[in-house]
């Protein structure tokens, strides 16, 4: 208790905090811009994919499966298993997988967390048009 006489620095800091506006932002009214390069939801460029299956083999979480579609075999991303390490993007010899900045992926339905090729194609197109909805 000996130092009671000296005014702690904290007293001034608290007073100044009262006069500042709060640091926290009112999400979801206010959204923060996410930097480019953020590892969000996957984008697949199906025209580049050569169905080699390296993404499926190299995924540490076993979250990618190749499925048959109309033209060729394409990867399906299981976002509930994915750890967003993007080893798939590293392993892909044709750079057909890229991260997007979409991060609001929570859902109450499991189907929405499995990115199937049709959804991937459309999400790629949507992102080009600046429509960042799920």
């Amino acid at each position: 208790m000996a130092n009671k006489l000296r005014l702690p620095r904290m007293i001034r800091e608290i007073a100044s905090s009262l006069l500042k506006s709060p640091f926290t932002r009112e999400y979801p009214k206010v959204k923060v811009a996410v930097p480019e390069g953020f590892r969000g939801r996957h984008i697949l460029y199906p025209e580049r994919c050569i169905s080699c299956g390296l993404c499926e083999r190299d995924c540490p979480a076993n979250a990618i499966k190749l499925v048959e579609t109309a033209d060729k075999r394409l990867p399906v991303f299981h976002l509930d298993l994915c750890i967003f390490c993007y080893q798939c993007a590293d392993s892909c010899p044709r750079s057909a997988i890229e991260p997007s900045t979409l991060f609001e992926m929570s859902s109450t339905k499991k189907e929405e967390l499995i990115l199937k090729p049709k959804a991937l194609i459309s999400s790629y197109k949507n992102l080009l048009e600046g429509d960042d909805k799920k």
Binding site: M1, A2, N3, K4, R6, P8, R9, M10, E13, I14, S17, F23, V34, P35, G37, F38, R39, D58, C59, P60, A61, I83, F84, C85, Y86, Q87, D90, P99
Partner: protein
């Protein structure tokens, strides 16, 4: 400083006949295979001759018919690994806890997971696996069958695994045993502490680890080397960069892969950013534990720009996924340099304010000064690492002693304090933040050009490597052994908190019960890192750590 040649020649001179084989594949690393039972002589010779030695960890590897025990002895810079083999049918070996008490937990770990009995160990019982684990079932052995858990399912969840928080025993004697169970609202990570309290003084404490055990070491044997980098990253969210750097370095050492200079510098940047945000986290949590909420909120507010920088560089705030075997995965563009520098300099100014608070705030001093004293002699015997050691005056820093990444080309200071109490440990961390900021600024000015990654084959040659980094909490050690395939044969992780938790007993014995928060938080325990070993399908019941202070003292008074 000792060099590895000195150590090896000493061993060969004094114990030449007992040495079977001796390898020095890299500078500062030696692997000495001793005849069965002569490990004690080698270790005591090393401990006595050179100062600043300690046991980093003990690794057990199942080699089929034998179990190989690696005693990793650090001689400040170099690491000399004394190997010893015991037959699998009768795995027994003499303990080394009488030579150096700090090896106690490591021997228990090997006993728990591989079944090696250490004769003469004062307290050989389970460390990581749960109390109801089937007897005789050792997960890290190659012939372990997970089906044994299914067969024993009816036995699991027995009485011993249920802990009542705050159970009071021995109401008639003056010493009361209080168990602070897994679930406690103030704990950040689960573990169990059994306190023996007499009045207001803590007589003894026994931490029980293993509640966040996920079986990472065993799981790492089933993934390829480059996939393991992602697995190892998730051992701990806070020190993830340290784990990936350590593991990548181990594999690069096995495969004789030389990473480009730019990769070394970029690794340093991420490593230091990791350290800054981890120390800031601890500063805030200290404030919270001591009831000083404004400090907590301010520090975490100032931590946000650091996380934003990490997000800008790596794509995610915490789990960076930046390192890989052969270098780093992304480049750092020069236009980001300015942003990083701005944030760092702003943080440096704020750190002056926080250092002022820790040094001078009366209530904080009341709670942390003279609390949790760890004498330097105890610190050396218990082989503590990191800020805990540096707060007791032991100058130990892997970045300087066993330089990795770009640290051999960067000037920086190692911060030590002589006060040995919680306050000193806090100050060490606060000043290390400022050092890290300086390192980052230096690195940004000196990043060389060139490639940031080299291509690495999937298969690694046969070999083994010990890799150490200075994680925010201290010395982090990875031991990787490869058998020539694309999958590692053995991965061993020894996180700094395991080295430091053994000192908790020393710190708190004889202290007031009410000092437990300040003492424990100054160790910066990260139990996610500590409990990661062996393959177990454990249900992660997150419990809350910590203690009941004063329970007993007031119960006695009333």
């Amino acid at each position: 400083m000792t060099s590895v040649e000195e150590a090896v020649s000493l061993l060969k001179d004094k114990l030449g006949s007992k040495v079977i084989e001796c390898k020095t594949p890299k500078p500062r690393r030696a692997y000495v295979l001793m005849k069965s039972g002569y490990h004690r002589d080698a270790i005591s010779l090393l401990l006595e001759t050179f100062d600043e030695t300690g046991v980093s960890t003990i690794t057990g590897t199942d080699l089929g018919s034998e179990i190989e025990l690696n005693y990793h002895i650090r001689c400040r810079g170099p690491v000399v690994t004394i190997k010893n083999k015991v037959p699998k049918e009768k795995p027994q070996i003499m303990t080394i806890t009488d030579l150096i008490p700090g090896a106690a937990l490591y021997e228990r770990e090997v006993f728990d997971l591989l079944g090696v009995v250490f004769q003469g160990h004062p307290d050989l019982k389970r460390l990581i696996l749960s109390d109801d684990w089937p007897e005789g079932s050792y997960p890290l052995r190659k012939d372990w069958d997970p089906q044994i858990l299914e067969k024993n399912a009816h036995n699991l969840g027995g009485q011993s695994s249920i802990v009542n928080g705050g159970e009071v025993e021995g109401a008639t004697s003056s010493v009361v045993k209080v168990i602070v169970g897994p679930q406690h609202p103030a704990l950040h990570e689960p573990e169990r502490f059994s306190f023996k309290i007499d009045g207001e003084v803590v007589v003894d404490v026994e931490p029980r680890l293993g509640y966040v055990h996920r079986g990472i070491e065993k799981a790492a044997e089933r993934l390829m080397f480059f996939q393991d980098v992602h697995l190892v990253e998730r051992i701990c969210g806070i020190c993830n960069a340290a784990h990936t750097i350590c593991f990548s370095q181990a594999v690069e050492s096995i495969g004789n892969i030389e990473i480009p200079p730019k990769a070394r510098y970029l690794r340093t940047i991420i490593h230091e950013l990791n350290r800054i945000h981890s120390h800031l986290l601890l500063l805030g949590v200290t404030g919270f534990e001591l009831g000083y909420e404004p400090l907590f909120q301010y520090v975490w507010r100032d931590r946000e720009p650091v996380l934003d920088i990490i997000e800008m560089i790596t794509g995610n705030r915490l789990l960076t996924a930046f390192n890989t075997i052969g270098g780093v995965r992304r480049d750092l563009k020069p236009d980001i340099h300015e942003k990083i520098k701005k944030t760092m300099n702003k943080l440096k100014k704020q750190m002056r304010f926080y250092k002022n608070i820790i040094e001078e705030d009366p209530s904080l001093r009341l709670r942390t000064r003279g609390v949790g004293i760890l004498k330097p002699s105890s610190a050396k015997k218990l082989c503590v690492v990191g800020p805990v050691a540096r707060g007791s005056g032991i100058s130990m820093d892997i970045r300087r002693d066993d330089a990795y990444a770009a640290y051999d080309e960067i000037p920086f200071n190692v911060i030590t304090y002589e006060d040995c109490d919680s306050w000193a440990r806090l100050m060490v961390r606060a000043e290390e933040i400022v050092e890290s900021i300086d390192i980052i600024n230096y690195v940004l000015d000196h990043v060389p050009g060139g490639p940031y990654r080299v291509k690495v084959p999937r298969k690694q040659p046969e070999g083994e490597a010990v890799s150490r980094v200075e994680a925010p909490r201290g010395e982090l050690l990875h031991y990787v052994k490869s058998d020539g395939s694309a999958y590692p044969y053995r991965v061993k992780v020894r996180s700094p908190t395991l080295a430091n938790i053994i000192s908790f007993r020393e710190i708190i014995r004889g202290s007031y019960v009410a000092d437990i928060p300040a003492a424990l938080i100054s160790l910066d325990p990260c139990f996610s890192c500590t409990d990661r070993m062996a393959f177990v399908d454990v249900n992660n019941d997150r419990k809350w750590h910590w203690s009941l202070n004063d329970i007993k003292r007031l119960k006695k008074r009333s």
